[in-house]
Symmetry: C2
Subunit: 348 residues, 2 copies
């Protein structure tokens, strides 16, 4: 039995008991070898792994799943290769779930939502995090499929109308309002808005907060230009906006990466000074916002806190499947830098 | 048998045959539901998934592993949260392995090499890719453990002396030489070198190629300053180098992100003009190198080709475990931009 040849299918899969017997060790020693974080000597590890290989033993969390329906696997789904707005978020999720004692499967979904779901199911995922900077339609289809299958799901930095999934975002609307109030305090009232062309909830809320605060102050309604959510898209939208509205004295960019492209285009192509002619405010506080050449005033979003919150939300949903979907919004704050002029003293 | 309650442990794990019988469908229909990319109707999917859940069936690649020792899982190991030199590489690997019909497990290793190995083994990984921008010691320990266990391993953008693993890098030495030759062609001979403080093979080869080409042209030996491989580290190293050697007329930065910090520091803190006073060449051609404010001359590394090559190397190593470890170096090219002056005409 223990010497079964590979080409003869086993009557039943080997168990940790079989491995322990062949290796001549205790079952708990076998379990330690296959549990991350447990201590075992190199010699013991070697012995157990050799026995496991000889028996075709499956040393993974799925064995636990067979008994308890708990695989310990969560899937992180990405729909884009290019995530300039939050580098390191995938890695931060891996770290957070590992701290929960879970394993992380990475699903790259580039076109086919059904294929992504099949991969999620194949891993026997206990839950899913959907991260998405762009690719709105694809993300929504994947989210819908997960919810229909009853898979615990958390949306990261995104909400979908009509899909009952938990979500974690920044306080996007409040951040938009902060940006407007800061520009008003700096004496700028003729603002334009630059945003990514996909109508995501994040962009909608950021713009909504900005427009409401401008309106509340009696400032003119800001014109909006949309383009790809990228450095080049920011340059393009900035050019379009200032071409159509040359008297604008401020720009609010719903993503930092667009603000950087806008600033460079204003300075190097249009010969406009930032902030003297046009003040610029971004959103996200990506690392390059702080670089000396940009010195970008922006709304800081706390992705470390958002990842922690999302990982916790998913753990809660897995532990209590009856729990209703919830939304968490993580606080943002204004970081005032040199792309806006100093605020004016308030009248006495 | 098919109505077994969850709290009674099964005598043996359910098979796809059991699922097919309970669902009243063919075994190939069950297989289609659990194979990414296969077509099944929503109704069929629902029916099969319900039967699988009732039986505690494990619908994953590991079942294949029980029969054939092939799990179809590869692990990608990261040792840092912050990968400014190649954003999107993790996602590109996920895509490449999915195209091979494999699944991707993501392992975040932040301190403990043994823990990373236990996770790799627990997934029953067929092979491992180790991506590492920094954290040299940890990466080396993980690589050593994988090789000792006979796990197929590919090192991405890194080589380790004394560890017999396949590796894929850029042509780092040739790139360093190209940078030197371009500066010489622009009439700059008094060059300094800025590099990350960890003695990685990548940094060593880039510096080696640069120094050799300068020496071959009879130029003075370039002084080297090292700091964190980051924007701030670049600013710091640039300040130190120009403080100690004020007559330098060129800087070669072994990573673009350091070149950006150096350029901003030269312009905004030291009042030096780039390229008029000091020419700057980077390495990698990250997206921000092309931004108007930096317009950085750099050595382009083709990460898309490197990822494809690494994924293929790992597939080859899995298919033929006896294959000796090999190294692939992917070609680089100089991208001349505005941070270096125009090359001088050659003497007739």
């Amino acid at each position: 039995m223990t010497r079964r040849r590979k080409d003869t299918p086993p009557a039943r899969p080997a168990t940790s008991y079989d491995v322990a017997r062949l290796a001549g060790v205790s079952q708990s020693a076998v379990s330690r070898v296959f549990n991350p974080g447990s201590y075992t000597s190199d010699a013991m590890r070697e012995r157990v792994l050799r026995a496991a290989a000889a028996l075709g033993f499956t040393p993974n969390g799925f064995a636990r799943g067979l008994r308890s329906d708990r695989s310990g696997i969560v899937s992180i789904v990405m729909t884009t290769l290019d995530n300039p707005n939050y580098p390191g978020v995938i890695e931060a999720f891996a770290r957070a779930f590992q701290r929960q004692g879970r394993q992380v499967a990475l699903i790259a979904a580039f076109a086919d939502a059904e294929d992504a779901l099949a991969r999620i199911v194949r891993y026997r995922s206990e839950g899913v995090v959907l991260t998405a900077a762009t690719r709105l339609d694809l993300s929504r289809r994947i989210a819908g499929l997960c919810v229909r299958r009853g898979l615990p799901l958390v949306l990261y930095n995104r909400r979908f109308r009509g899909i009952a999934a938990s979500s974690v975002t920044a306080e996007n609307e409040a951040g938009g309002a902060m940006a407007a109030q800061h520009l008003l305090a700096c004496g700028r009232r003729r603002a334009g808005i630059i945003a990514g062309s996909e109508p995501t909830s994040t962009v909608r809320h950021r713009i909504g907060g900005f427009v409401s605060a401008m309106r509340a102050a009696g400032a003119p309604a800001p014109p909006v230009a949309r383009a790809a959510q990228s450095y080049d898209g920011g340059a393009e939208a900035g050019a379009a906006l200032l071409g159509a509205h040359p008297r604008l004295d401020a720009l609010f960019c719903a993503a930092d990466v667009m603000a950087l492209g806008t600033i460079d285009h204003l300075r190097h192509r249009l010969g406009r000074r930032v902030p003297d002619d046009v003040a610029v405010v971004g959103f996200d506080d990506i690392p390059s916002a702080a670089w000396a050449t940009f010195d970008l005033t922006t709304i800081h979003t706390d992705h470390a806190a958002m990842v922690e919150q999302a990982a916790q939300s998913l753990a809660d949903a897995i532990d209590d499947p009856g729990r209703p979907a919830g939304h968490a919004a993580v606080a943002v704050r204004l970081v005032a830098r040199g792309s806006t002029p100093p605020p004016r003293p308030r009248p006495a």
